[in-house]
Symmetry: D3
Subunit: 210 residues, 6 copies
């Protein structure tokens, strides 16, 4: 099984971060490649950035005959609907996957987010995934470091009484372990969650086609 | 990885049905055992049946040190909340998993159900999993045979314009392939969906504990 | 008319508290008995505690031929669904009743809760009772005393602009009068609310059977 | 305890129907009077009819010093919000009470309604009372007779898989017993449900003022 | 085209405020008149105030043959439903219009409100207009001055991460421009929003009748 | 004022249909141009079609300095979010506008749709616009002719008890008058509704910038 993680952010550091998480998570059980979009800014944060990424992302899926599934690795899930439509293979967004998995293991969640500007859209995204009741707000982190993310998560718990934290950016992918241990509640990273759904759906599709 | 599928129905035929699906789905990638509850009727369909199953199901989880995850294989997800609470290992219900996965791949779904009596509770279950907007009703099947299930699914599509079908009983576990091919829309079986979530969460927990 | 209040908490002080409220509320209009579960901790706060209480609670209902209705007197409403199913007599939870009555007399409510740990589940409970829009959060009280409960209620009003307060624990049953007078907004205790529904439903059932 | 049932319909036959139900339900436990509004048509069915009833209904409440609670006995609950506001005594609508009680004892309900015209507003009313998920549609009855109401209820069950029926008109108040017995699922009449809430709230208010 | 703005508040200062906004907004494109109700307090804030305004408001609409549309210019939209029903001409509330327009241009909004007392009802109003997910709370302004309203809006943004502000009182009608420029997010005044809907619906009705 | 209607369907007949409606609706009050996208099929019906239209649609808005507002004239509102983001001028979708206006004037609506395939997505679209409670299903029309659309609308009313009809395709733009007269309930065409919002928002923006 080969899964292609499409990083909509044109940032090799984000690639590295995603690759590190995928390797540690997958443990060689299947192959994972990471590729980034070139025509976008380093951090995709608007619908316009998503539009800029669209042709490359569609190309990656349409030309990705060597892959069994695709993951969109930006927490705003840019272009997810169309990518799902143009292929019979599984396509999963890290925003979607993190909320769906979280919805099974907590009574409410907060999202840690990289910028104040992106917070209002998180509510709309939660609504798109039928998680309006579970979503109790976002907290902005002062940086990508584990301790800063932990402090934002801690503040979210104090402010909104959630028992789940979602890491709202691909750059946070490796902080789930640290925060969960220190905070004592469930922490969900979208890269891990999307790998769960994507690899599982590859098996499901393979079963259905046999 | 070893996953225990707990069949709350005291019916060995259901065990066999679940085992057949699990084997065909997993293809040896990990180990799956199936065990049924003894103190329940052959088809669990009430809260009382769920209560009768509770002590055995708790025991199976608490004594299940050889397993990495547990699946509750009755579509009403009896005792799921408490089982999740008493162990740090993943516990997944086939009702929950089927609705969560379906919610990622269709705009609306209908549930095929074994009895008129269980239909009103399906609505409440869909609400519990935040799928009220997606759930467009249930259709009762005249039997467990693939063709009968296909006919019920076809009727559901005609009546409620859904583009997804959920098989609402563990005994239907092997009919997804047949119905999906014949009907041309996505069909979701809870056993497959729960295996996706359970095996993935085992990997996630293992990653977090390293 | 005889109503049995089942206290899922194995605490005689809670019994006394419930009995005091029931006596003051009912004023002899009908008979009320209070009995507690023995196989649980003093304060039921988890699904596991609820599971521990299940056999005794079912027994109380099934053997309760002398009673016309049953009330579950823990605000998390443990085992309510199954108890409703195994008898034709009314069964009412104090969590459910308090939210339903409150929903008729305020535009939004907060719940006063005995522990931080139980707060996330209150959101899920509010969702179960279709009160997600009305539920504006919980406030933890530093103790069972009226003044401490009043302070928690006051804080809830300031933080979330509600015009209703729900007392989220059977041990708070006698504080509604004090807080309502001091705070000037509606305060709802579940024991009173459950007695309203239970006694009324006894009359309704009696009417239907004549 | 004295409860005044305000019939917004200027029809003495409706008065008689309500009185018959109240007498059979209350069995002398408390006093119930029925009075109708004079400035409305025989069957209130529009916001304009409600407006016509407003001055009389306010007067009845403001001048009703001899009564402990008031019930609005038209299933569209005309002027309920303002009546609740102008008195400290309980005011209950039969539409509101029937949906709240039904929401505790079924997984979904249909409303039997006297005219096609009033059906769309039932959806809005269900939404007002947070019962959108429970409300599965209305069925129009060809008349007020028990058998005709039963046939409409039967059709509703077949069409929408509900396990609860709400009688959506004060003129249907005495048909609940007949339909419930024949149909085998719960049937809720608003007059009975409103008496439950109103008499219970009188006790609650009396407790709070002592 | 002639539009009548009905000011339910018996305050000529509010008339002037509304007129100033309407003139600046309409720029002579069509005629707008403002008239206030006489039998209400200066600031309508309760259902009782709304009831007091009802006969005059109905008269204004029924006798308003010279007008093509009517606007209810109090943000609680008193008597809106009945006014819509008694005429074929468009009737628009400033509360309704502001929320509907805001829902198209932001991911979440807060309402600036003149009194703590009116805040809980804003939630119910948002629910009535299907804006529960968008409505993230209200902030009370210390006065009608632009700077005070700006400060309340700023606080709302900081507290609830909204990207839209709704001015929740007719007396705030001229402050949208100032706050929007200073705060940098969308600000919606109900008088402007209602004029958009009302004038547009006049054109639509005129088209349909030709 | 000049409004550009962007027709995402590459069909000149649709242009003509839209132009006819706009002319009849606007009556010369402002200028309206219609332009279609060239790189799409004649009837846009998938996310892939929307993606194909994206570059042209963005170009039309970014290069549209001569226009004061833009309307997306396909009822699935392709690319609406990004177009709203890249300009300070109003952008309105006919799907969005039709549902928002309908939500003010009816208790429930059905959508008339050109193909069975597009129906499930209508539910998702209604959810996006917070109209899930109002949306009671879609009916497929056998053609674009007024009588066929009327028959579909009639069937929708009979099946789902709605009091509003939304025409779910730009090609139906001129049928609202015919159906409304014949059916006797409100009928909403998205082109008219979008012109109401777009022209009104131009006035609002112009006011805010003075």
């Amino acid at each position: 099984m080969k899964i292609l993680i499409i990083n909509p952010n044109s940032d090799e550091l984000t690639d590295a971060c995603i690759r590190q998480k995928a390797d540690a998570f997958v443990q060689g059980a299947y192959e994972v490649s990471v590729v980034h979009v070139r025509s976008t800014p380093k951090l995709v944060s608007s619908y316009r950035d998503a539009a800029a990424a669209l042709p490359e992302m569609m190309e990656m899926v349409l030309q990705g005959s060597g892959y069994d599934a695709f993951i969109v690795a930006c927490h705003s899930d840019p272009n997810l609907d169309v990518l799902k439509e143009i292929t019979d293979k599984p396509v999963v967004g890290i925003g979607e996957a993190s909320m769906k998995i979280a919805s099974m293991y907590c009574n409410g969640f907060a999202i840690i987010s990289p910028s104040v500007k992106s917070v209002p859209k998180k509510r709309t995204l939660a609504g798109k995934y039928y998680c309006s009741e579970l979503y109790k707000g976002a907290e902005v982190s002062a940086g990508n470091e584990e301790e800063k993310l932990y402090l934002a998560a801690k503040k979210a718990v104090e402010n909104s009484h959630v028992d789940g934290i979602i890491l709202g950016c691909a750059n946070y992918a490796n902080a789930d372990k640290y925060i969960e241990r220190k905070l004592g509640i469930k922490v969900f990273d979208g890269v891990a969650c999307a790998l769960i759904i994507a690899s599982g759906m590859v098996m499901y599709n393979s079963y259905k086609r046999n």
